[in-house]
């Protein structure tokens, strides 16, 4: 039987990233042709027929070192009518005092202090309840919203009444180390291309919680942010789409974010994403049994296949390690070397083409980004294995979490070298 299965496992493990790379690239290019061909540059938004008022939500937990900069960037947002609501979620540092001080300086800023730390989901719910306007933009407490991002979000909402949520384009600020520079390419080549392709298809796996926008009505139909999930953004995206709204990517809505620049920080972040993604997908599966939601099944299926791929890849890597130790005869499973020979070389070249395509698409948003292709060589050599490992560890933890529900809490992340 193993003689029959081994080629299937090998073909799947090596073929899945190859096939999907071409799919994501096509989606990115087609999105540019269909949506972006005649679009103005990100810094030159056109006049809108109307400017509905917007509330910007900034949930914060222990953001004392970042919050002044974040609020100053929000004050510079070029939009006629908006308010900023900072939600201080029981911070233990000086965030609360700084926000009180900033509230006296900035007329648009309002502050909601949560008496106890409740996690990002409930902080967003409290902020949304305090918000006066129908359109909400949410960013993280360490992220700098670009001057025209709100205009781009609103323009997109005005163009499509079925849109319940939009995901913006997070751009990485900190690029002092190899890990920082590597993630810039990842955000373009993986995150950006996938979101473009999913927007064309009509179903998005997740908005980026660090910069996204919602209609209140869609949030209400989706049941507002849930505190029982690790990744509130994935959960909210799925529930909004289950409620019948659409979600799309607006690449011109830029936001500058901080990412981990240590292996430990990166591992913790990616493990949380993987665990939270699987948790949400599994938790909401029973709600997908409706013909109208067939697009979500396609995204569900791709997610499950990607988790399965992580296991087959990891198992092959373990076998390769055993073979190295001359234990090969004990295991009848294909070995996958981390050294890019044969198929590995083909996958590496395919990824580098994917990264190049995405960086060409994203150079409108960031000058000189093409130079970063130099560092992207590490993605297939190293990052894929990290991603696979987080899925391998994250999936059982997510299943365990389903049986023992707990509320999501804040994690003080690694914010890179500054």
């Amino acid at each position: 039987m193993w003689d029959f299965l081994a080629p299937i496992v090998t073909g799947f493990t090596l073929g899945y990233p190859f096939v999907m790379a071409w799919y994501w690239m096509s989606g990115g290019i087609l999105h540019r042709l269909v949506r972006g061909w005649n679009e103005p540059l990100p810094g030159e938004p056109p006049l809108l027929p109307s400017y509905p008022a917007v509330s910007i939500l900034v949930p914060c937990h222990n953001e004392g070192s970042n919050i002044r900069e974040v609020i100053a960037a929000l004050d510079a947002v070029d939009y006629p009518d908006f308010e900023v609501i900072a939600i201080n979620d029981g911070s233990r540092d000086e965030t609360g005092t700084i926000l009180d001080d900033l509230a006296s300086q900035y007329a648009r800023l309002r502050v909601v202090h949560l008496a106890t730390n409740r996690g990002k989901a409930l902080a967003l719910n409290a902020g949304a309840a305090a918000a006066r306007h129908e359109i909400l933009v949410a960013i993280d407490g360490d992220s700098l919203l670009e001057r025209d991002a709100v205009t781009w979000f609103v323009r997109r909402f005005l163009s499509d009444g079925t849109l319940g949520a939009l995901t913006g384009n997070p751009r990485i600020r900190n690029r002092s180390s190899l890990l920082g520079r590597l993630q810039i390419g990842e955000y373009s080549a993986i995150v950006g291309l996938i979101k473009r392709a999913q927007t064309l298809f009509g179903c998005v796996f997740t908005v980026s919680g660090v910069v996204c926008a919602f209609r209140k009505r869609a949030l209400h139909d989706g049941g507002w942010w849930s505190p029982v999930t690790l990744t509130d953004d994935v959960d909210m995206t799925w529930r909004i789409q289950i409620a019948g709204w659409t979600v799309a990517y607006e690449p011109k809505a830029l936001c500058w974010i901080l990412m981990p620049e240590t292996l430990r920080g990166l591992w913790r972040q990616r493990l949380r994403w993987s665990e939270g993604g699987t948790q949400t997908v599994l938790r909401l599966t029973p709600r997908l049994f409706h013909r109208r939601l067939w697009r979500m099944w396609v995204v569900w299926f791709n997610y499950m296949v990607s988790v399965l791929w992580a296991y087959t890849m990891f198992a092959g890597f373990v076998v390769w390690c055993l073979r190295w130790k001359s234990l090969a005869p004990l295991v009848h499973y294909p070995a996958f070397s981390p050294v890019p020979q044969g198929w590995g070389a083909l996958l590496t070249v395919t990824y580098l083409i994917q990264a190049s395509v995405s960086l060409v698409l994203d150079r409108r948003f960031e000058q000189g980004i093409l130079r970063l292709i130099v560092w992207q060589v590490w993605y297939p050599l190293f990052f894929w294995m990290v991603q696979a490992l987080t899925s391998v560890v994250g999936a059982p933890r997510a299943i365990l979490r389903l049986t023992r529900p707990s509320t999501g809490t804040w994690v003080s992340p690694d914010r890179g070298v500054r």
Binding site: G15, V19, V34, A130, E134, G161, T162, N174, L178, L200
Partner: protein, 167 residues
């Protein structure tokens, strides 16, 4: 929007890291490229031979067995082509929606519906939305109560929120 605005510089952080760290990153990355180049050497030489004079002819390199390579890749290539056709269809299908400039807008969420979800009346929600700075309790079930403490003040900067007592 305002015209003639000065461009905004991206707030990129390039912290000064130790020279050894920069050197390590450069050397490792160079090594990674060389490794990939080594494993692709036959293909690279083939391309070089094919493109040098006389162009589009192989002079010294031996052509690989294209039939065997195609036999190995055919299934994956056909699957990729199928998926590209699939996403092209959806791109064509969604172009009207993606290129639209305006669309009828849904009615905003009524405050009453919003307030009920958090256990607040219309009046309470309205009062909450007046506050400039406020402290609230929100329980794990999402029910909200407002604390009237020294921090709270309304948009006019008074010491307490005007409106009904909350919580």
């Amino acid at each position: 929007m305002k015209t003639g605005r000065p461009p905004v510089e991206p707030p990129i952080i390039r912290a000064r890291v130790p020279a050894w760290m920069r050197g390590r990153d450069v050397l490792l990355t160079l090594g990674a490229w060389l490794l990939i180049g080594y494993f692709l050497r036959e293909g690279l030489y083939l391309a070089y031979d094919y493109l040098r004079a006389p162009i589009f002819e192989l002079t010294t390199a031996r052509a690989p067995d294209w039939g065997e390579i195609w036999g190995r890749l055919r299934g994956f290539v056909l699957l990729a082509v199928g998926l590209v056709a699939w996403i092209t269809f959806w791109a064509f299908d969604s172009r009207a929606r993606l290129q639209a400039t305006h669309s009828p807008q849904p009615a905003p969420l009524p405050d009453a519906s919003h307030g009920v979800h958090f256990g607040l009346t219309d009046a309470e929600l309205a009062a909450w939305r007046l506050a400039k700075v406020q402290t609230v309790d929100i329980d794990p079930a999402g029910q909200v109560t407002m604390r009237m403490d020294g921090r709270s003040r309304d948009v006019g900067g008074r010491a307490e929120i005007s409106g009904p007592s909350l919580g």
